[in-house]
């Protein structure tokens, strides 16, 4: 599974982009999107997902249920 950004809530502030340890976030049409193939939910990097921690709008960076939870490679 990965995090996703709720486009209707994203203000395009760009705070999340430099914080992502996987460089999974980029701008698209004035808002930011997360590449689910790169997102590791920050596991192995930080205690909490950085996009969630830094986003100024609550409930904008949320778990994307379309993907299975990220598994740390054995």
């Amino acid at each position: 599974m990965a995090y996703k950004i709720v486009a209707s809530q994203c203000t395009g502030c760009s705070a999340c982009e430099p914080e992502c340890p996987n460089v999974a976030i980029r701008e698209k049409n004035g808002v930011f999107i997360i590449d689910p193939k790169k997102c590791t939910e920050c596991m192995g990097h930080f205690d909490e997902p950085q996009c969630v921690a830094v986003c100024p709008v609550d409930l904008t960076c949320v778990i994307d249920n379309a993907f299975p939870r990220y598994q740390v490679p054995a």
């Binding site: 430099p18 930080f46 205690d47």
Partner: protein, 394 residues
């Protein structure tokens, strides 16, 4: 252009790469431009060395509290060292980082100005303590500004009905801090993307599209120097005129009486704007010690297309209701009568004169009339601070 500042929204030091790259490019192209920076101070201690290396003229830190108990009601959370902190812990980290950053700037010899937002019922009384804390750590200027909190701005304070201070509440707080250090009174709370002078925003001329169209900006050091010398000569002339008027007052004797005067001006320190064209008034307090600039009041334009708008006059009166007189270059018959009715003396005989000098002459006459018992001096009431960001009338 003399000064280039990088501010928000979004803290410049949360994105140090872009901020310092901008400084580097400016310093290379136009070395006489002063650089400045605004920050909430959270990341400041990490960057003081770089700020010093770029010879940044001054740094503004927004400090709204020095007590985490109070801070928790202002800051819901912070993001620090890859973690989100909330409540009192967040406020404690923030205040420690802000004060450490300020101390480091002072030690490095970089000027530090402090901005504080006055939030009635939350930090209004506490800001005296903030003033003391920042002064003892070497800040050179303190700017206490009123909270702007109209619901349509969509901010938390705006939505939960937190009111901003009145003009007199703000002035009383600024006055009480003034014995301690320099207070900044000319803040217009412009948006961070402002271009131009305070109160004379030129952002519309410099949109991204228009900047892209400009082929090459010519940097002309000689013309810049000539202009800077002209500005300095004007300033010296203004100071001399005020000193002369003040010397003239010394034979009037001392008095506790102070009056407030609203001035319609386009700049250059002169009474040179029509009442109906003013989008703001400068406020001066005058006494036997001299005249002192104490702030600005924004108003809605009274005169639109040559006709006075009746419904805007009461809002202008409310904005300068604590003033005894209003100095203008010119004023129409209708607003003149209504101002008189409200107890504000409309004065156009100082048209195009220097403000400081005129204020002192007016005060001398006022004092003489009080002493001859022609009029009775009274302290006037309170005034409103107009909500909303300052946007130029153009």
């Amino acid at each position: 252009m003399t000064v280039l500042g990088i501010a928000g929204p979004g803290d410049p030091l949360a994105n140090p790469g872009k901020t310092f790259k901008t400084f580097e490019l400016i310093a290379k192209t136009a070395p006489d431009i002063k650089l400045c920076l605004s920050t909430n101070g959270l990341a400041l201690p990490d960057h003081v060395d770089t700020i010093k290396a770029f010879n940044v003229d001054h740094v503004t830190i927004t400090i709204n509290m020095v007590d985490p108990e109070i801070g928790q009601h202002i800051y819901p959370w912070i993001y620090y060292k890859n973690k989100r902190y909330t409540g009192i812990e967040a406020a404690r980290i923030l205040t420690e980082r802000q004060l450490l950053g300020l101390e480091m700037l002072t030690a490095a010899g970089v000027l530090a100005k402090i901005n504080s937002v006055m939030i009635p019922g939350i930090n209004d009384k506490h800001l005296v303590e903030v003033n003391r804390a920042v002064k003892s750590r070497g800040a050179f200027l303190h700017n206490i500004m009123p909270l702007i909190s109209a619901p349509e701005h969509g901010t938390v304070f705006g939505l939960n009905g937190q009111r901003g201070p009145s003009a007199q509440e703000l002035k009383v707080l600024q006055d009480s801090c003034e014995g301690e250090m320099n207070m900044m009174r000319h803040c217009r709370q412009c948006r961070a993307d402002a271009v131009g002078l305070l109160g004379e925003d030129r952002s519309a001329e410099f949109t991204t599209e228009k900047i892209d169209e400009m082929s090459e900006v010519v940097y002309d050091a000689e013309t810049r120097k000539a202009y800077q010398e002209l500005v300095e000569a004007e300033r010296l002339e203004k100071v001399a005129a005020k000193d002369a008027a003040l010397a003239d007052m010394s034979d009037e004797g001392m008095s506790d009486i102070k009056i407030m005067i609203a001035v319609a001006t386009k700049g250059q320190g002169r009474v040179n704007e029509h009442f109906g064209h003013a989008t703001e008034f400068q406020i001066y307090e005058v006494g036997t010690a001299g005249s002192k600039f104490v702030g600005h009041r924004r108003v809605d334009l009274y005169c639109q297309g040559g006709y006075g708008e009746e419904e805007t006059l009461p809002s202008v009166v409310r904005a300068i209701n604590d003033c005894h007189a209003v100095f203008v270059a010119k004023i129409g018959g209708c607003p003149r009568d209504e101002l008189k009715q409200a107890g504000i003396d409309p004065v156009d005989r100082f048209a195009h004169e220097f403000i400081g000098q005129s204020a002192i002459s007016y005060f001398k006459e006022y004092l003489a009339r009080v002493r001859s018992r022609e009029i009775v001096h009274t302290v006037r009431g309170d005034a409103d601070i107009r909500q909303g960001a300052y946007i130029s009338a153009a």
